[in-house]
């Protein structure tokens, strides 16, 4: 096979204009050119031609489209005359052969580094493992679902400016500019302190802290109008007091250093502890201390030993105790969470947020007619209420927090003053500078002259930065820059700074590899490294490329095996699955609070996919394990609350063991397990509030079956769900797609979308449509006549036709790896590889290795 591609397809240009044979012309004129002629050109397609210039990319794209439309039976539209089977076959055979003969393997456009690749490359090149891109660094566009394709990786002025800003920042770390010292003083009162969720509240002129949690937005406050400009020692005075403490034990106020620009979702522990202060009295105490703060930081305050916690498990215990002690408090909570107790208890916890929730609760507490008849520990309402607390439903905890703000115990901050720097100190960046310089230059400056040092630095650094050997001329062209700068009276440091900046905006650095026809050793090393690690080639790969060893098939394979990810959290696993399956969207979706799908569940849902993918790859499991595996990864709690199944008991419901992700065994042939129906995927294909069968159907066609339908006409509105619940999604869809012109795509889309209706917008198993729209009917018929009752039938069908799935994944992998969508000829090679791999046991790891050895991978 490979020989054929090499000789037939890599030999440069192929004869151009070819006549369309008569028997094909007949089919085209009978069935196609009524609409697709020069005059009407429906869909922008003109097929009224007598010959084809195959050397033109446009004609190849055009005819590949025609072939796809025929393969999928999309054309002619159902209301028009249909060709006979022979006629269709004649057209398709001619197209297949012509395309194969005329489409060369290869064609990736020059690819600049994607956002993540760029970040990783800087990390690796300079030894800055925690380097992050600045706020507002432009995002990459997605093309065919991936952010690393040649076509999609556009270079824009905004991006180039961002590159040069990053280049300045990196150069500043190695050769910082001199700074003028300015002494500053700040005063901050309670009103200058940040309130986020229920972390703090201002009462009686003091800021009160009341709760513990790992996330700063649920436990901490900070003066948001202070930002240190110079790293140094600062004198800080904090005025604080206790408010209604329960014991003699002092309240511990932690003071930490917070980056002003850090996320509110950050963990407390990521900020450096400056001081622990003991607060013992209800009268204001003032504590003064000195601490180092670095550029860009402010202070962060937390009450370390608060009683109230946001941890669901612990909070449930506290509330259980409380309710036992105080039935009236219990009754008020019951009334707040279940205001309309009918036959089934519907929780309204989602609207009980923060102070609002607390006010609701207080109103009920004050109500003399408060219903006390269920305020026992045995009642159903109490049990359900405690589950709400236990599930980590943040709203109720946020409301409960206000009890403490009002009644204590709470820790009060009355204000603070800060001044400095008393002396300038080296921030962490300063301290690391020598190591960084050594890493970059590969040698100490020692007694070398400025010029010698700069030259030697470039000889060592440029090949690493540009990921290939660099000739003397290039080294010299960079050296001259620094030299000129020095001659103009600039300092040694400024010259070095300039060199670093220049390297970092050179296209040799920014573009992965400017590749000629066939990949050379260095380009192959680069492609392999970014594919498997999202980073530049390491020393071993560079060395092999220098010694021209990577061309040997067994060396390439060995290297691929060495770099192949084995763990769920390695960059390739996460980056590839998130883009292929669309699960990168999960953090953006913000599910409707009514669905009670807390961040814990979102994380579990994503972990399930990534752990499973990593295992199938690492253990070389068969491709069918993507569809119908005998294992998955989830917690007992997740299985119970999302998939509605038990997966072997570990600990009591809600316990740490119950919440922990673990590998679980599954029965093959069931509804749980595999990509179809995984919560994370079901969530990514909905919008957080309701399901959209069309989106899911398109998703399955595109990402599981590899036959994406053409985009919908632009004038069709998105389906907006009927909030009254009078029509169910199935009926709405049927009405939506009555038009015959819609039917040719929708008969493929709808069955595979509807069959997933048993999964709600977060992938939770359900039997009924919401709002009383009835029992879900998920049945349908695939275009090949297979009838589906539910998702299990679809999984069975896919296992029987697994090569179609393997071809789809392979195409996605190759798209991600090579930066181009495989063309007709490349798909042929991929299909051969899938077939051969199937015969050898169908292992996923074997498949990836075979793809890396393919011509498609090894050609530009």
């Amino acid at each position: 096979m490979r020989g054929l591609f090499l000789t037939g397809l890599l030999m440069g240009s192929v004869a151009a204009e070819r006549m369309i044979p008569n028997h094909v012309l007949d089919v085209l004129s009978d069935y196609c050119i009524d609409c697709h002629d020069t005059a009407e050109k429906k869909g922008g397609l003109n097929l009224d031609l007598e010959s084809v210039d195959w050397s033109k990319q446009e004609s190849r794209i055009l005819w590949e489209k025609v072939l796809k439309a025929n393969e999928q039976g999309l054309m002619p539209p159902l209301k028009k005359d249909q060709p006979s089977e022979e006629e269709r076959k004649a057209l398709m055979t001619w197209l297949d052969e012509s395309l194969l003969e005329n489409t060369l393997i290869g064609g990736t456009l020059p690819r600049r580094l994607s956002r993540v690749e760029y970040r990783n490359t800087i990390r690796q090149l300079f030894g800055l493992p925690e380097f992050e891109l600045p706020n507002g660094f432009p995002r990459d566009g997605k093309h065919h679902g991936f952010d690393n394709l040649g076509e999609g990786l556009v270079t824009s002025p905004a991006l180039l400016e961002a590159y040069s800003k990053v280049a300045w920042a990196v150069a500043d770390q190695l050769y910082p500019p001199e700074k003028a010292l300015k002494i500053e003083a700040w005063t901050a009162g309670p009103e200058d302190m940040a309130l986020s969720f229920s972390a703090a509240a201002v009462r009686d002129g003091a800021l009160r802290l009341a709760s513990r949690h790992e996330h700063i937005m649920r436990s901490c406050t900070w003066p948001s109008r202070i930002e240190v400009k110079t790293s140094g020692v600062y004198r800080i005075t904090v005025h604080a007091s206790t408010y209604k403490p329960k014991s003699k034990e002092p309240m511990i106020l932690e003071v930490r250093a917070r980056e002003v620009s850090a996320s509110e979702r950050s963990s407390v522990s990521q900020f450096r502890l400056l001081k622990e202060i003991s607060i013992n009295s209800a009268a204001q105490e003032s504590v003064t201390f000195e601490a180092e703060l670095f550029e860009g930081q402010t202070l962060l305050f937390r009450w370390l030993n608060a009683e109230m916690t946001h941890d669901g498990k612990e909070l449930e215990k506290q509330m259980r105790e409380w309710f036992r002690r105080d039935p009236r408090y219990l009754a008020a909570w019951q009334k707040s969470v279940f205001p309309f107790p009918g036959k089934t208890l519907r929780s309204r916890a989602s609207v009980l947020r923060g102070l609002n929730g607390w006010n609701t609760l207080k109103n009920h507490l004050a109500d003399p007619k408060l219903d006390m008849s269920h305020a026992t520990m045995e009642s159903e309402r109490t049990k359900k209420l405690l589950v709400v607390f236990e599930n980590g439903m943040t709203n109720v905890a946020d409301a409960q927090c206000h009890y403490y703000f009002e009644h204590g115990p709470a820790l009060e901050i009355h204000g603070l003053t800060m001044q400095g720097p008393l002396k300038v100190v080296d921030g962490p960046k300063d301290k690391r500078r020598d190591t960084l310089r050594l890493k970059m230059a590969g040698l100490e400056k020692g007694s070398l002259s400025d010029e010698d040092y700069a030259r030697k630095m470039l000889v060592n650094f440029l090949p690493r930065a540009f990921r290939r050997p660099v000739d003397k001329k290039t080294v010299e062209s960079f050296f001259v820059l620094a030299k000129t700068h020095w001659q103009e009276g600039r300092s040694f440091e400024e010259g070095m700074h300039l060199l670093i900046r220049n390297v970092l905006i050179s296209p040799r650095f920014l573009y992965r590899a400017l590749e000629r026809e066939k990949l050379d050793q260095h380009m192959l090393a680069t492609r392999l490294a970014y594919f498997l690690t999202q980073g530049p080639p390491d020393a071993t790969l560079r060395d092999l490329a220098n010694r021209k060893r990577l061309g040997d098939s067994w060396v390439l394979k060995r290297e691929a095996e060495r770099l192949m990810p084995t763990k769920w959290n390695q960059p390739m696993v996460q980056s590839f699955t998130r883009q292929w399956l669309g699960t990168g969207l999960l953090s953006e979706i913000m599910p409707d609070p009514k669905l009670n799908f807390t961040p814990y569940y979102v994380e579990m849902a994503r972990d399930e996919i990534e752990y499973s993918f990593a295992e199938i790859l690492r253990e070389n499991r068969p491709m069918t394990d993507f569809i119908d595996p005998d294992f998955s990864y989830m917690s007992g709690m997740f299985a119970r609350n999302v998939y509605r199944v038990e997966v072997g008991k570990k600990g009591k419901p809600g316990s740490k063991a119950d919440r922990k992700l673990r590998r679980v065994k599954l029965e093959r042939g069931g509804r749980v397990g595999g990509l179809l129906g995984q919560s994370g995927i079901m969530m990514a294909t909905a919008n957080g509030v309701d399901t959209q069968p069309v989106l899911r159907g398109v998703w399955v066609l595109e990402n599981i079956l590899g036959s994406a339908p053409p985009p919908p006409p632009k004038n069709v509105p998105a389906l907006t769900p009927d909030t009254q619940g009078t029509t169910n999604p199935r009926e709405m869809l049927a009405a939506h797609t009555m038009e015959p012109s819609c039917a040719s795509c929708h008969r493929r889309i709808d069955p595979v979308g509807i069959v997933l209706e048993n999964f709600d917008p977060v992938g939770r198993w359900r039997v009924n449509w919401p709002k009383g729209a009835g029992i879900i009917n998920a049945s349908g018929t695939l275009p090949d006549g297979t009838s589906l009752e539910n998702v299990v039938d679809l999984k069975r069908w896919l296992v029987e036709n697994v090569n179609q799935f393997s071809e789809c994944v392979s195409a996605k992998l190759m798209t991600y790896a090579t930066g181009r969508v495989p063309n007709h000829t490349e798909m042929k090679e991929i299909k051969e590889i899938v077939k051969a791999n199937h015969a050898k046991g169908n292992g996923f790891r074997d498949l990836v290795l075979a793809l890396i050895e393919s011509e498609t991978f090894r050609t530009k």
Binding site: G354, P507, V689
Partner: protein, 401 residues
Amino acid sequence: MIALPSLESFGSTATPVDGPKNFVVIGSYLGLHQNAFYPKTIGKNYEMPDTLKPLAEHQHEFTVFSGLDHRAANGHAAWSNFLCGNSPKTYSLDQMVADKIGQKSRFASIQLTAGSGEANKPMCFTRQGVPLPMIQRPSVFYKQLFVSKEDRRRTEYVLRSGKSALDSVVKDAKRLQQSLPQGDRDKLDEYFESLRAVEKRMDRQLETINEVVPEPDYKLPSYDPITPNLQIESETIMYDLMALALESGSTRVLSLFLDGLGQVFSIDGRALGSGYHGLSHHGNDPAMIRDLVAIESAHTHCLSGFLSQLKEKKNAQDKSLLDDTVVLMGTGMGDASRHSNRNLPTLVAGGGFSHEGHVAIDQKDKDSPLLGDLYITLQQKLGMEVESFSNATRNMNDLFS
């Protein structure tokens, strides 16, 4: 108010044009609660709904539109349909305008955000669909507009050494480009074009350094209000600077993104009942809606201050800067409580339009106009010859001109 010498000063164009020449757009991430934003009646003399009350003094200078949208997908992920139309994350309205009318000013367009924290949710996209970063720090925006004396030498060094760096990079890259096949060279041209654009911008900045733009007597606070709880403060400052930017002719196209996270605001001394995002999921709870509307009214209050400033600033022909500026406020989410992107609350102020009060579009009518149709009208008012926007191909000139 201080007078600013201008590069291409407002009102000093050689050939006076009748239409407006600036475009400002404000986008609210968590939507704008419809019941408090849409007037109950149509036409001019409606009773001010709560969110619009802060804008009462400008009632005759703006029009509210209900019932418009792009028929785009639902959910937060499709939010950027606001300026991109039916296909989110593509060429956005403000950039179309910037590409046509922004080119001659010092900055073709400037993108700003208030209350974003760490988040990164782009609103504006270039022709190629590249999302544009937003300035979060007022001090950075200020420095772009007005280079101070102390900073001038440093800035000049940064620019000049940056420029000489570019020269050498270009030389090296050209050498590299010659060895590549044609398709690749074309692709690499993106890089050169970007370089040239950056270089041009540096040139323009270098020129203005020598022209000595004095700092206005505007006083920035000593800190940047960048954490989400200081959003309203940041918004106020951004609007002040935006007015100065338009007045000095530094740019003609400005965008301001209003993010929404879990920050708890205190408004008029009262801490609100929940974080901003929490309130947006109000589930029709009246107390939550009241607090949500309080935040949104704070947004319109800031906008009102901005409109007043634009109204006060007049050119030699006594035309106000507001008449010279099309101001669009809107969102990509029609109802944040349901994550629905239908029926997007939209407001247009200034721009020399004859303002119509409340224009209500009945979505049940199959031929009802799209939000894109309004965008066509806005562009035409700005002197652009356009006939389509995303999925829209008409305009709304007969309802609004």
